[in-house]
Amino acid sequence: MSLDLNRKKVTKNAYRITKRRNYTALRVRVPGGHLNAAQLSIIAGLAETFGDGTLHVTARQGFEIPNIPFERMSEVNAALKPLLAELQLRHGVQIDNIDAGYPGAGMRNISACVGNRICPFANADTTALAQRLEGMLYPNDLHVKIAVTGCPNDCVKVHLQDFGIVAICEPEYHYDDCIGCEACVKACERKVTGALTMQNGKVYRDERRCIGCGECVLSCPTAAWTRRPGRLYRVLIMGRTGKRNPRLAMPFLDRVSEDVVCQLIKNTLPYAERHRLKCIPKEHIGYIVDRTGLDVFKEEALTGIEFNPGARIAKTIQWPGYNTLNDANFKLISK
């Protein structure tokens, strides 16, 4: 019998149309990019039972299981149940019918660097924040990309996201414990921004230069630098790859609390829904902001947010990027 599919429904169920007629690929979400070996075995089992035994690890830290016959979708959905329970329900995602597979294809998987579960540089548990956001935001039909990175090294490349969340710290100096060894000054000078200087055997921090990476804390042999308790983040916005105008995300909020980060992104969903072009299926959030302007975005996305003391906001943003149509810059070098 010929296949008669409701393509939109299927896509929303996280099965994509592939090059090969009658075969689909399932996108598996792994919020925060961390999962346990048993969950990985389930994913492997899906590929073996329903697909061709191969898996693609996606750039956003999910999996794509190719070559699944469309006819087997309901069997796959049944087999997905334990995965949905562990990787979605557990983080607070609401799913009405757990037997029916993924309730949405958007937004994209929220990725994270390994964070402080593993990395000594990390200022936070990035996976935990990604999972919290997953619980708050998924499912929705908007085109929004989010990633969380544990320090300004940005291993997960939040500079290419719509919301790039960077965990930072506020270093606190304990004057009496400092022995003037200069390790922190050298570390900041060589690896970061040179925010520290020695004066009279003690260290002075230029707050305007400090990006809160935590290198000084790591390098001090007497714990004269410690992280101020309470997590802080920098939020970069509206970076993107894509066919039209790739560009880097730029700092929007700085030294804000986790609650502020979450509220900001939550507020963005109704903003995007209100302003998106209805003539295309999923307008990318960055282009919506381009159209409304930053001020409208600010006004709507910041509604009702209670900022923590010390929070800062960018006055204006100019995104570095380029238009892909700049043919004038090219000349032929070989015929």
Binding site: N116, P120, A122, N123, A124, D125, A167, C169, Y175, D176, D177, C178, I179, G180, C181, A183, N200, G201, G214, V217, L218, S219, P221, T222, A223, A224, T226, R227, P229
Partner: protein, 341 residues
Amino acid sequence: MNKSFKLSSEQFKTVFAGLSEHYCIVGPKRFAGLGRFSDTDLIRYAPLTSIDELELAEKSCFSPKDLVFPPDETLFYFNGQQFSEAALPDNLEIIVLLRPCDINGIDRLDRMFMKNADVIDPYYQRRRSRLHFFMIECRESFENCFCVSMNANRSDNYAAALRFGKDGVEAEVASDKFLETFAVNGSVFEFKPEFVSENQIKVELPKVETMPPEIFTDKLWEEYDSRCISCGRCNTSCVTCSCFTTRDLFYGDSRTCGERRRVWDGCHLDGFCDMAGGHTFRKNKGERMRFKTFHKIYDYRKRFGVDMCVGCGRCDDVCPEYISFSNCINKLSARLKEGAE
């Protein structure tokens, strides 16, 4: 009069509260979230406001030596005409809760600062004379401890020895100064502290009267040239490292008014061996490791009759490059044996 007691947790709290009125009570304390890595804790010696703050489950990262030898201490002020010695901020006596290794560690500092030739360091002495040791009984070693090999697992140098149990404290009070408060609040009980008798880590100390000169240039030290990053953590966490530098600082743009401080220094840190004119020696990290090793387990013994190192293992706990001092001692002993064969 009987000198050992049993106290319920409540009774011990009363003792603690009573003592707090006259003494500053210091012990290892956990500072949540202040560890080197985010979401880790820092354990260091600090004043305790309640006995519940005493950290017993984990070894402290830093030693109690700050109490007698602070990281940065002003010795005197000068103004071009006169100088005046810096007074201590208060003259509170201090009760410090610490383990036998650290009591022995402070003994090693005593020898360095007060029994070294005929010189007594007054800045050390004035802090030292305020201390009363309340020994925390230590029957099980932590990771990296090798106090038994260093003969520093036992001590009888305490005003009181305490065993912290689930439902209270058993105490032996050696100093009459503290007898009454324990006697009034607790009940008479037979208690003598026990000591760790074996560590997982054992070191074999070199059995030589005099180090053969060849060992100074032995290839044994070479691996540390590239392994050690001279971060100095082994020195700052060590209870017996007692090296300092002096630093004069001038106020504002004055050329005459200021103060002299003494600040911790350490043989692994860059600059430790810098001399006037810019010359420096022990440039290689391996030479620094050799210097430390000899000081800890050889030179000091020649001078004072005991080893400097007390085997607390903190240097191994904190080294970011996984350099193990206990392994180094064993490597040295093995090398000396090979040489002898």
